[in-house]
């Protein structure tokens, strides 16, 4: 396996990219996704693999400077096994070749020569200019280095103006073992970048979409807002505190001395390679005007109910109706499973009006493992959500 060089993505792919695979990183125009291919390049170089990098849009010096800036590390052409075909080579090929066929032959000859002389393991190619020069199938054949008997691992970045139509086309589907699309969206957040594993030939996983940020030269899967809501006394503050490394709750003492949340809970955790921020809402109906503000831009919601308190279920049903209008993944956490008189999962589903498609977990918010199981399920739902 070759690492993608990115947190979390190797896990999603079952350990990385099998050697000899052909990978497409498809970039939506304007989306800051260049670090995907660069991360994989660094991972390959650090593993000692020999890499041929085809950069028809730029020069070697400019490329090395740019990737150094992006990643915060430098590539030394003396220490690493790396060779290039760059924009200067493209100009020479164009000058020498009288027509497209001759240029194609020249590219092929150069790729084969460099690959053989340097015992190349992985070919990295920036595709959109090659695509423009030679068309889809010839361009792909060129970068695949398929004239030799050796099966290289091929990693291609493409500026995709044609969108999903291009990715769904037969030549693309036939040519790649992994298609990873990097896009941006304005919903549910105002503006965020995400990647989607469109297809992986070695994995039967469904298509997964994951928001990401770039942090210290790394792609970090990112869930900026998960909201925990539910009726009063259902254990929301405890849930947030159990889930997170840093948790704050804005509470005050109630009439009988019990603590109740009057603004919100807030917590942050780095878990399963995701940066996640949790927001807990107050449960009392008098705070309902705050709910839309806290729920706004949430990527997923945990609805927590007290599994021992039937009187709260009408309130939970009301909250569930509010959440379902947001069209984001939701999980039900039935808390206090360890206390006597708890209801069954079926009873809770029926009373709240939850269909079979929404998971219900019987948990104790005091148990970190239970809380993590709910979060794991929600993160899984978020990554399968089609933005």
């Amino acid at each position: 396996m070759i690492s993608t060089g990115m947190f979390g993505i190797d896990d999603m792919l079952g350990g990385g990219i099998p050697e000899g695979s052909r990978v497409l990183y498809s970039l939506e125009p304007g989306v800051d996704g260049q670090l995907f291919m660069i991360s994989t390049l660094f991972a390959a170089l650090e593993k000692g693999q020999a890499c041929l990098v085809i950069i028809p849009h730029t020069t070697v010096d400019a490329f090395l400077h740019d990737i150094g800036q992006l990643r915060g590390k430098t590539v030394n052409t003396l220490d690493h096994r790396i060779v290039f075909l760059d924009s200067v080579d493209r100009e020479r090929i164009q000058r020498r070749s009288g027509n497209n066929e001759a240029a194609e032959r020249e590219w092929k000859a150069r790729i084969d020569k460099l690959s053989a002389e340097n015992s190349i393991d992985v070919i990295f190619g920036y595709f959109d200019i090659i695509y423009e020069d030679f068309g889809l199938e010839k361009g792909l054949a060129l970068l695949s280095g398929n004239t030799s008997s050796h099966k290289y691992t091929i990693i291609i970045e493409h500026l995709n103006f044609e969108g999903d139509k291009f990715l769904a086309s037969q030549p693309i589907r036939k040519s790649f073992d992994l298609i990873l699309a990097i896009k941006s969206s304005f919903r549910p957040l105002p503006h965020f970048n995400y990647f989607t594993i469109q297809y992986a030939s070695w994995s039967s996983q469904l298509r997964r979409s994951v928001p990401f940020i770039v942090k210290n030269g790394n792609i970090v899967p990112y869930i900026p807002k998960i909201v925990v809501t539910g009726p009063p006394e259902s254990g929301k503050s405890r849930f947030v505190a159990s889930a997170t490394e840093l948790g704050i709750s804005i509470d005050r003492s109630g009439a009988e001395g019990e603590m109740t949340t009057v603004a919100m809970d807030f917590g942050w955790l780095h878990w399963q390679d995701f940066d996640i921020t949790l927001y807990g809402t107050p449960g009392q109906p008098r705070f309902d005007p705050m709910l839309p503000v806290i729920l706004n831009n949430a990527m997923g919601v945990v609805l927590l109910v007290d599994a021992t308190n039937r009187d709260q279920l009408a309130r939970a049903r009301h909250l569930y109706q509010i959440i379902t209008r947001m069209h984001v993944p939701v999980i039900i956490g039935a808390n206090k499973k360890d206390l006597p008189g708890r209801m069954s999962e079926d009873e809770i589903r029926r009373e709240i009006g939850v269909g079979k498609g929404v998971p219900v977990y019987l948990i104790s918010a005091l148990q970190k493992d239970d809380v993590r199981a709910v979060l794991e399920s929600l993160v899984d739902s978020i990554t399968r959500f089609i933005y």
């Binding site: 125009p29 304007g30 989306v31 849009h57 400019a62 500026l159």
Partner: protein, 235 residues
Amino acid sequence: MYSYKTGISQIDHATGGFDAGTNVLILAPSLSYAEQFSYAITRPLPGEYAIMLSTNERASEVIDQFKASGADKHFVGVIDAITKSSTPAVSDTERFMFVTNPTDLTGIGIKFSQMVETIFDGTFSGKDNGLFPPPIRFCINSVSTLLMYRKLEVLYQFLHVMTAKLKKIEGLGIYILNSESFDEKTVSLIKQLMTIVIEIKVDGADNYFRIVGMRGVDAGWQKFTVNKGQVVQAS
């Protein structure tokens, strides 16, 4: 809706300026003051920002031009597609970003997004923008150069993305195209993406412009010069 003042009296008086989300093609022959004309309508007014994608001049030269027209350089960003080919180690700053050459449409798109993001989040100028995203004028100088590096159909797709983005962020897009260097098909394809076309012509020693596609604005030829960053209409 925000209106971008142009300094061209017949536009500003008739409509209050270009509507937010307008994309304007400046179609002009060589040596016709088209560049100065474009700088004049790209120049940011107080509270606005400008981004210039330069395929012909270095970032420092672009800034000099804006300064000469009286613009505050702190509100001008440049995506420079020239300097990096000779100085590969030049690094991006908030206001100056570099791509190796005009071929690199991936880089241009990303730098544009990054610059807009820093304008919106206030880190570009260090000034609080208030409640709403600030108005942004964006100019490509020039589409003609981009067409020398990339095929028409690819550039059409690229400009389609850029014009759509400008609409989404309620900016003003200005695109310079040499009217003499390209065939009718090319010009008409690029025109399809635009809201308004400003044509410029040279007659003897005089320069003229006319505005096509703007309701309520006189579409006749107007003699002009550019003085200190302002379009001056002569009688």
